[in-house]
Amino acid sequence: MARHLTRTLLSGITVAAMLGVAVVSAQAATLHMAWSQDATGLDPHKQTAFSSLRLLELIYEPLVRVDASLQIIPAIATSWEFSKDGKELTFKLDSKAKFQDGTAVTSADVKASFERILDEKTGAAARANFLSIAGIDTPDAATVVFHLSQPDVPILTAMSDVNAAIVPASEIKAGSIGTKAVGSGPFKLDKWDPNAKEVLKANKDWAGGATGVDGIEISVLPDEAAILAAMRTKQIDFALLNDPLVATLVPKEASLQLNRVPVLAYHVLQLNPSRKPMTELKVRQAISCAIDRQEVLDTASLGEGKVTGPLTIPALATDPTQLFCYKRDVEKAKKLMAEAGFADGFSATVIGATGEPPTAAAEAQVIQSQLAEIGVKLDIKMMELNVYVDAWLKGDFDMAIALNGGRADPYTMYNRYWTKAGNLQKVANYIDDTLDSQMQQGRAETDPAKRKAIFADFEKHLAEMSPWIWLYTSYSYTAQQKNIAGFVPTPTGTLFSLSKVTIQQ
């Protein structure tokens, strides 16, 4: 009987394995892609989830884009120019640009798109970046002039975001943005089954030329270990990965290639300087000195990343070793704690979102053990993402482990936190005149060298005031079969170069 049972079980498993033989892709011209989190919506002006942006960038186009070195390059606009006083920005549009319904992209569409973003009723995510727009003129179908209330250099970078995508004026009028995806990008959305699958077809009319594949089929495989398994059996050609633990396994597979690139997003320990004792500069500085950032990176993220200061944009970032207490100094930390009157330490709670990023809990644990050395007793509270976001937006935390998004321009990246009028001041809970004035100078300065100097001072000052403890930037990971050619990973994490990817036979 026992033998019979074993035989039955084994034969069952064998049949299962035989039935489960993978079907290798026969359609070479379709790129089979996978990611673990799906887009959450189709309105390019409202979506901020990483996966939504990655999908929408393939369908919609902004006026300009940033390339792999974060330089502004043409998209719908072929050229642009600031007036001498920096208060007028003129774009010339690509005459070949067409929406996927066949109509030409005109200056009226650009105007209607920005008016939609600025309209409070829309609830557009990027509205705050465009508040300096005082008026929009359209002298002809191919020219758009933005009149600005003050010089605003970073507005150009903000316009490169898909949150500033140009949508057809007719669709805005019809109220169908978000239910129908009509962009001018390289792919058309053929089918979307939320949390399961997206089917994209090449847009033959794309002004950027022919795409390298006929289409992209994106499968949502929630478990990244399963994505890797599907790549091993060649079901998937290309995948987006978030978890460094899974990503580091990719190079062990002979047929797979891992693309990794440092991103602008940063891992940070946010202190809440409105809560005692983080109100004390010396306490915040002591925390900064007590944390070994490299150890956090090595332990939580397997060393997959780079220690960073506040600025993560390669062209502007200062060497972190030059910043305040970036070399761990426990003695100095203890001394600072004693000077602040906390020689015996204190207790605090640190919040983190489960799985967002996947390293959050591990980061909190390493920091907990490091801060214990100076008497700070940390209680770790992990929460579901939405619960965390709610607490974070209310500034309802002592400390928070966060992965905050980066931008290609430091003003756009930080004005929300480190200016007096910043929308997220209640999250940052710290501002001083120096930071505010440095941000305003950086916003208006058009000379790149002077801008760099202003933001270097800003970064140094921010690290010294230690409202937050910047830890490291990680990598964005994509995995691909080795016969896929032409993908260019970039620090913004965009997958736009999939438009030129080809599948070698």
Partner: protein, 319 residues
């Protein structure tokens, strides 16, 4: 018949209770549809922008108004519209349900086909080595989390043999039965393994109980063969706890096997509800929980009716 009618009459009351619970519970969790969509960027919204989005998501009204509208809609057969899918909630649920039902049935078949013979075998070989062996395997089965087993199966098949069921696009049974079975057999084994272990343990102990009963001894003394004693006399009575366990497990499975659906990327009810909770798709969470509760009640009712079929001494509804 009276019993059946009385049980059915309690359904609306229970569902009303469930509807209030789920409605309040999902709204008590911090965060809403706006933070679910925008994440931390929601902090950049002006109050007017927030109001406009709240109206879009239908969360601008007081709770009781929202509840009243929802319940009023259900009475007219309208479960609301999912903000994630942009489609009626009932359509989305009914699209996902066949997979969940199929997976639950398949795992139950595996569990009963493996667990019952194993349990009976162990009971009839009580305290022998083979009994110990079955008990150890059952213990391992019960204590292995499904995500460990699932990932182990996926890893072994993909890394060791280079094979794996097609993941991502699920083929319904009526469209492509072979592909459908290939996609469901591994998840069913993953779920069925622990389920089978429970069935083994419960059928072993039930069988042991029954085998020591007087009527079994009488049957033996009358010269009935060992086979006849086990299959004709003992088994029907030993089945009652197995039916209870299977009913409860099956009811749970009809609510979706979240972890297994996640690992094997199956678009079932469990994953749908999880995503809906994470995205604060209130209408979908509410509709799905009501649907799952209804299924659970039906399964419970069927279990009770099965008792009568198995043991004529049981009279339902009589004190």
């Amino acid at each position: 018949m009276n019993y059946l009618m009385r049980r059915l009459a309690t359904f609306p009351l229970v569902l009303l209770g469930v509807s209030i619970l789920v409605f309040v519970a999902i709204r008590m969790v911090p965060g809403d549809s706006i933070t679910a969509m925008l994440g931390t960027e929601a902090g950049l919204l002006t109050p007017a922008q927030r109001d406009s989005l709240a109206a879009y998501f239908g969360i601008d009204q007081p709770w009781f108004v929202q509840y009243w509208r929802w319940i009023g809609g259900i009475l007219q057969g309208n479960f609301g519209v999912s903000v994630t899918y942009g489609r009626p909630v009932l359509d989305v649920i009914l699209e996902r349900f066949p997979l969940t039902l199929e997976l639950a049935l398949l795992s139950m078949v595996i569990a009963l086909a493996v667990g019952m013979p194993a349990g009976i075998y162990a009971a009839t070989h009580n305290e022998k080595r083979s009994d110990l062996g079955v008990r150890i395997v059952a213990m391992i089965g019960q204590s292995t989390p499904s995500f460990v087993l699932g990932l182990l199966i996926i890893y072994t098949l993909s890394a060791g043999f280079g094979v794996l069921p097609a993941m991502g696009e699920f083929a319904p049974l009526w469209q492509d039965p072979l592909r459908n079975l290939s996609q469901l057999i591994l998840p069913a084994i993953t779920l069925g393994f622990a389920f089978a272990a429970s069935v083994t343990r419960i059928s072993r102990s039930a069988m042991l109980d029954v085998l020591s009963d007087d009527y079994v001894r009488t049957a033996r003394s009358k010269g009935a063969s060992a086979r006849s004693v086990i299959w004709r006399h003992a088994l029907p009575n030993a089945l009652i706890p197995v039916v209870t366990l299977s009913g409860i497990e099956f009811g749970y499975l009809l609510g979706g096997a979240v972890i297994v659906e996640q690992i094997y990327a199956l678009p079932g009810l469990g994953r749908m509800v999880l995503d809906a909770i994470l995205q604060r798709d209130y209408a979908l969470v509410q509709g799905a929980v009501l649907f799952i509760a209804f299924n659970f009640m039906i399964v419970n009712l069927l279990v009770d009716l099965a008792y009568v079929a198995l043991d004529p001494r049981i009279r339902l509804g009589e004190s």
